[in-house]
Amino acid sequence: MAQTVRAATAAAVTQTQPDVELRQVFKTFGADLAVRQLDLAVQPGEFFSILGPSGCGKTTTLRLIAGFETPTAGDVLIQGANVSAVPAHRRPVNTVFQSYALFDHMTVKDNIAFGLKIRHLAAAQVRDRVGDALRLVRLEPMANRYPAQLSGGQQQRVALARALVNRPAVMLLDEPLGALDQKLRKQMQVELTTLHRQLGITFIMVTHDQEEALALSDRIAVMNNGQIEQIGTPSDIYDRPHTPFVADFIGDTNLLPGRIDEAHPAQVRVTTESGLRVLARAGNMSSNQAVVVSVRPEKINLSLGAAGGNGNCYQGQVSHLMYLGTHLHCIVRLSSGESLTVRQPNRADTPIAVDTPVYVHWAADDCLALEAA
């Protein structure tokens, strides 16, 4: 699978010098603390995403790397050089803005050539590289148009080309697909990964769309409240979230707060607040610790009769049912009082309806006990 391959590449390059590194970075705006104690290392060639809800500090982090903001404290390193005091125009990074920020008084060609002309490249060289860039983003016929005469997707590609043409060490993408509609987004996601593979340069993307982050990234940093909650590969983040926030933010999950009754090396037994006893996977945890058990909707099975085995199995009743084509989205009210979201493949063999009495069950390894926040 592509993801494991990527994870392997990521692991292989961990030893080399990071392309971008943030060390203990703080950024305040007046009394507001936008970013606190940030440590981050992005490896060369990585597609790295910063994911988080709006206002979590992810865009600020990107702007710190680009040089639009100076850290209040801490250091920013690009390719090993401390650039904390280097202004944006002398940093070897280029940005694709959410708004594209195209210069609408210049043609597409001039927009793309801007960075090269600023660096006083020879005219012929500028022409060649702009031509290459246009070809790369398949915009050759639009070279002499003005940005306002292009569609949203085309403008997006101009923004990409304008950054790429400078051959930056690092590409910074601030919600690059945020302004596009759903269908175009999917298409551009494919183009982005293709570009990344072709160019082999480091991409750092900021997004609030977890699906996009999962689909595109080698590694993801999940930010919340100015801090990084977890850095890891997509499957790390999804399958092994470190905090309830990450579990909740990435994908859907059911969170059941409770306390540990028995702690084993890799497994714990938890009694939830409503009295449900749950077996869950866990790291090093001790008895009586407050935890939150996270179980993904798609890991839960529904059946009409009770299931055996050493997993978790509870009785309940379907209270809501939504038909979503590929699957069914149900809410099951357990007899203990809790409600669980369950995602059930759309198959003929589970005839369920609202008010059907059902059993829900999942394997202990499919749920995770997380330290309560």
């Binding site: 125009h89 002398r90 803005f97 609408d104 960075g115 306002a148 292009l150 569609s151």
Partner: protein, 281 residues
């Protein structure tokens, strides 16, 4: 992207309007108001061709007042003074006003509200109050009045008007544009000159035009700051209107109105052009 996209979309609230609007009472009333606006101008125009000196009755068609006008050295030199004042004041104000608007948009600092408030003052304080204050100041500083003092005084309101127009454009501008230029390697100065200023150009132009028209029309501030033989057109016209007008003033009105119409047309054209380039598809 832009609300006044010129694409002729049918207006949902009204049935498609034929080229000739129906004669409803609002359209009739509007026509009447147009007549009201142009009536005095037409009267001046008609009298400018009247042979009579007293303007009271029609004595026959004549171009003598136009001949008188174009051989009136005093009037022409007043026009030259006015143009000098307006062009110099507007040119300097365009730079200072634009810088001020950019600075106000970019920086946060203590006393910014006060600064902004002061920059709005020339738009609010009546001309007469600005005029007398400037005179008192110049007299108290023992600055001899001259063409330069008029320019200095005109710059106050010119830069305020330009800054206001540019500010409103800045507010609608993508804040990332300048950063994009920096990001692509432009120095802050290059970013301002190559990206920000071109983006602001239509607004700067509009502001300059407004300031130019106001400067050309200003009587009070000029009256209080004129000296050293400087005699801008409004002062000359005012003096002639008071000391007895000969109909060459009528001819002057016609010439000035045609000139202004030309300028207004140019302004409209520039606005239309910049809208065209920026209009979304």
């Amino acid at each position: 992207m832009r609300p006044n996209s010129s694409a002729p979309q049918p207006d949902p609230t009204h049935p498609p309007i034929p080229l000739m609007p129906r004669l409803t009472w609002p359209s009739l009333f509007t026509a009447l108001m147009y007549a009201f606006m142009y009536f005095p101008i037409i009267v001046l125009g008609v009298y400018s061709f009247n042979d009579s000196r007293y303007s009271a009755s029609w004595d026959g068609f004549s171009l003598r007042w136009y001949r008188a006008l174009f051989s009136d050295r005093r009037l022409l030199s007043a026009l030259q003074d006015s143009l000098t004042i307006a062009v110099v004041a507007v040119a300097i104000s365009a730079v200072l006003g634009t810088l001020m608007a950019i600075g106000l948009a970019r920086y946060r600092f203590r006393g910014k509200a006060l600064y902004r408030g002061v920059s709005y003052l020339p738009l609010i304080i009546p001309d007469i109050a600005i005029a007398v204050a400037t005179l008192v100041f110049l007299v108290s500083m023992a600055v001899p009045l001259s063409l330069a003092t008029i320019i200095a005084a005109h710059m106050v309101f010119c830069l305020a008007y330009i800054a206001v127009v540019v500010s409103s454009r800045l507010q609608r501008l993508d804040p990332n544009l300048e950063e994009a230029a920096l990001d692509l390697g432009a120095t802050p100065t290059q970013a301002m000159i190559q990206v920000l200023i071109p983006q602001l150009a239509p607004a700067i132009f509009a502001g300059c035009l407004l300031a130019f028209v106001l400067s050309m029309d200003d009587l009070l501030i000029s009256s209080f700051t004129a000296g050293g033989g400087a005699n801008p057109l409004p002062i000359e016209i005012f003096s002639r209107v008071r000391t007895g007008v000969k109909p060459d003033i009528n001819a002057l009105s016609v010439v000035l109105i045609l000139g202004s119409a030309l300028l207004a047309g140019l302004a409209e054209y520039v606005r239309y052009r910049s809208d065209r380039i920026r209009q979304s598809t």
